[in-house]
């Protein structure tokens, strides 16, 4: 029998992998993928709690997180395309027009 802590530790480690990806990578698309990693690891936590506590609310929340992730991916990738059209790069170090 796998206990709840194993799932929590697993999900925490993948969440931190996502954080490392976001703060170290410069390719905007890979930064997006790291955000997906983080969203998914949190989903694992929610499903684990839902299953262990015997409450369906966690799985409903995962359903909504997936919907928001789909919306976020569509808008985010549209932003990447718009940026690439204007600057011919997806390197986030060169996309700094909001910085002053």
């Amino acid at each position: 029998m796998i206990d709840l802590n194993s799932y929590l530790i697993l999900s925490a480690s993948v969440f931190v992998l996502g954080v490392i990806g976001v703060v170290t990578r410069r390719n905007a698309i890979i930064v997006f993928m790291s955000i997906e990693l983080m969203l998914n690891s949190v989903n694992l936590t929610l499903v684990a709690f839902s299953s262990f506590l015997g409450d369906a609310t966690g799985q409903i929340l995962v359903f909504f997180v997936m919907t928001i992730a789909a919306a976020e991916a569509a808008v985010g990738l549209a932003i990447v395309i718009a940026l690439f059209r204007n600057k011919q790069t997806v390197n986030i170090d060169e996309i700094n027009i909001l910085k002053w």
């Binding site: 029998m1 796998i2 709840l4 802590n5 194993s6 799932y7 929590l8 530790i9 697993l10 925490a12 993948v14 969440f15 931190v16 992998l17 954080v19 490392i20 990806g21 703060v23 170290t24 990578r25 390719n27 698309i29 890979i30 997006f32 993928m33 790291s34 990693l37 998914n40 989903n43 694992l44 499903v47 839902s50 299953s51 262990f52 015997g54 409450d55 369906a56 799985q59 409903i60 995962v62 359903f63 909504f64 997936m66 919907t67 992730a69 789909a70 919306a71 976020e72 991916a73 569509a74 990738l77 549209a78 990447v80 395309i81 690439f84 059209r85 011919q88 790069t89 997806v90 390197n91």
Partner: protein
């Protein structure tokens, strides 16, 4: 005696973490997407070990099927020629960032460690909960309003994506 449940969990966990590491270390975005799909399949397997069948199925259909195809399409559309300009260098700042992330991880692990709930799982009840029937009932009764709001969010996302990706606004 080796428990099949433990073996399954360990294999899926290694796949989950290993493909996660591959996602953040690959230079080519296409390879990263493929490893991310592997990651999602491992996660769907983990959901199945938790008796969340519905979530496991939509994980594969929505994430691995739809969102990842979107990622692949965008990578294909962008046709990155200046790949060599994107070569990542290991700088002091990045080492610090990884160190800080590791610190966050140890904080989370410490919190999990000191707050061990030790909940016993009722597998039969969990199996009951993970079915489409249970989720659908909750979704269309207690969570009807959030469910309807979701459709507004999706239509905003569609309009936003079309407007952002359009060449010229007129």
């Amino acid at each position: 005696m080796v428990n099949i449940e433990v073996v399954l969990f360990v294999v899926l966990a290694v796949l989950f973490v290993g493909s996660g590491i591959m996602v953040i270390t690959r230079r080519s975005p296409v390879l990263a997407v493929l490893y991310l799909i592997l990651n999602f399949f491992a996660l769907a397997g983990l959901y199945l070990t938790l008796q969340a069948q519905f979530i496991a199925v939509i994980q594969i259909i929505v994430y691995a099927g739809a969102i990842m195809v979107l990622f692949l399409f965008v990578i294909m559309l962008l046709n990155l020629k200046d790949e060599e300009k994107l070569i990542e260098k290991i700088t002091a700042r990045k080492v610090l960032a990884v160190g800080l992330s590791a610190a966050v991880m140890f904080e989370i692990l410490y919190i999990i460690w000191i707050s061990t709930p030790g909940i016993e799982r009722d597998v039969a009840k969990a199996e009951e909960l993970g079915r489409v029937e249970a989720i659908g009932k909750a979704l269309f009764s207690d969570f009807l309003f959030p469910f309807e709001v979701t459709s507004v969010v999706l239509i905003v996302a569609i309009v936003g994506a079309v407007i952002l990706a359009k060449k010229k606004l007129d």
